[in-house]
Assembly symmetry: C2
Homo-oligomer: 284 residues x 2
């Protein structure tokens, strides 16, 4: 078992060239497909236990409450597996301990505010694991590819994002940012697979094919976002995502390692056990 | 396997006397503990499939979208297993397809509005399965036990709730209301178990013991709520909850039966498959 997957997948500082990252690689995996899937199954209860401790810290009935919380930011091209990751990794946790937000095209109300307004509104509360399926990074990626705002505006956002994330970490939030890295070829296969399966036709948007023509522009925009917002407090991890089993295992591991480092512990409130037990024990 | 658990657990019309319902009973269960747990494990994927269809209906990229959604309302005394039910039953579904709200004591902002304001704010959107861990029924139960509002006020709420729920069902919401029925003795065991396990001390609130002294008043308030708000559009189910394995299986089954009756289907949008496939097929 890998000892430090975060070290292996952490984006190094400096210029980012996504072509240098193999989307089919499986760094640190405990083995091939079957062995890695088995490891993910074992990791589920581990992740659930860590999450329960984090939740308990913030929700103890007696004694001081922690304000720590965790945020997983998932970004990646269409079909890179953001939904699948949520299902297979977050699905292992108690649903009451997590808070998932899928950010879509902004509404009129959202557009009437600063781009971080809707993000701030959905931050996880104390003790929760938040998951952002897309995030504020769309505001330096899709807007750049499609010229939705001026270069002056999106150009200023990298520093704004860094300041925002620094503020949040100072306030008890631990941020894990994951870029799911799939290949152009794998996206083709996945889009075709949607066409081949009538159960998946509802997911197919012909506009995805138009977006696909902008592949290079998206990669460029992602490279800038990864490079400019790769801070020590909120680092980026590049997860090879052509193999779903690796992707699921790796994201689960990144969360486990991060939570393990946080050392969440079940609170030990000062309960008067003998008195409380006596009240609950029926007379003999 | 039971064919119609809803029929077995549906609260009959008329006066409700909770003493007449055995919290240790296991009506319709496929067997004892092991067999019933195995059945729940089999039911998980079934529930996930139905949920995916409901979600797909409302989120198809092309073609008309459905506005149907499902709401599970969970009520019950302290320790009756609301949290555990969410974990074990809702945990089987794709976390992105469900929306869980745990209603706590109302905030000042919530109290400044009508009691249904915060409820309406948290209703599931189209295609989602919403879960209310506690709900507007607290506003005819705890407020009655503790005289938090006048009898004129809480007395008027039963009809207001019925009107509210009728309006929601007319707008595409299917409501499943579950009362988790545990015994006074089982609550005692569960509170003691929390004291015996240091991992559970954070859940222990000495005030729970004070609440326990109001057991009869709570039962009475629940009987009134169940009786007055037991409508055909939003019926109550009384689930015996002393045995956790039965409770989990039964709630899962109620959801499966309800969703099956809704017959959610994967949308078949009018996609031009040959053209779309051609665009995704590389030249030979």
């Amino acid at each position: 078992m890998v000892r430090n997957l975060r070290k292996l997948l952490r984006l190094p500082p400096g210029p980012v060239v996504l072509d240098g990252y193999d989307p089919r690689a499986t760094p640190g995996a405990p083995g091939g497909k079957e062995r890695t899937k088995a490891a993910l199954a074992t990791d589920g209860p581990l992740l659930a236990d860590l999450q329960e401790r984090l939740y308990a810290e913030a929700n103890t009935q007696e004694g001081p409450r922690s304000d720590r919380r965790l945020l997983l930011v998932l970004q990646g091209m269409d079909t890179s597996g953001k939904d699948g990751t949520v299902k297979h990794v977050i699905g292992a946790m108690d649903p009451q301990g997590s808070a998932i937000t899928s950010f879509k095209a902004p509404t009129e109300e959202e557009l009437a505010h600063d781009f971080l307004w809707r993000i701030r509104n959905r931050l996880p509360g104390a003790g929760l694991v938040g998951i952002f399926n897309r995030s504020h990074y769309e505001d330096v990626v899709i807007v750049r590819v499609h010229d939705l705002v001026s270069p002056q505006v999106w150009g200023g956002r990298y520093d704004q994002i860094n300041a925002f994330e620094a503020e949040l970490t100072a306030a008890g939030l631990t941020i894990v940012k994951v870029f799911l890295n799939i290949s152009y070829e794998e996206q083709r296969r996945r889009l075709l697979a949607r066409l081949d399966d009538p159960r998946k036709h509802w997911k197919f948007n012909p506009a995805d094919l138009t977006e696909r023509r902008h592949w290079s522009a998206y990669q460029l925009a992602y490279e800038a976002a990864l490079e400019r917002c790769n801070t020590d407090t909120a680092p980026w991890y590049v997860v090879p995502a052509d193999r779903k089993w690796y992707r699921n295992w790796a994201v689960g591991r990144l969360l486990i390692e991060t939570l393990t480092e946080m050392k969440p512990a079940f609170p030990q409130p000062d309960l008067d056990l003998p008195v409380l037990r006596a009240e609950l024990t029926p007379p003999a």
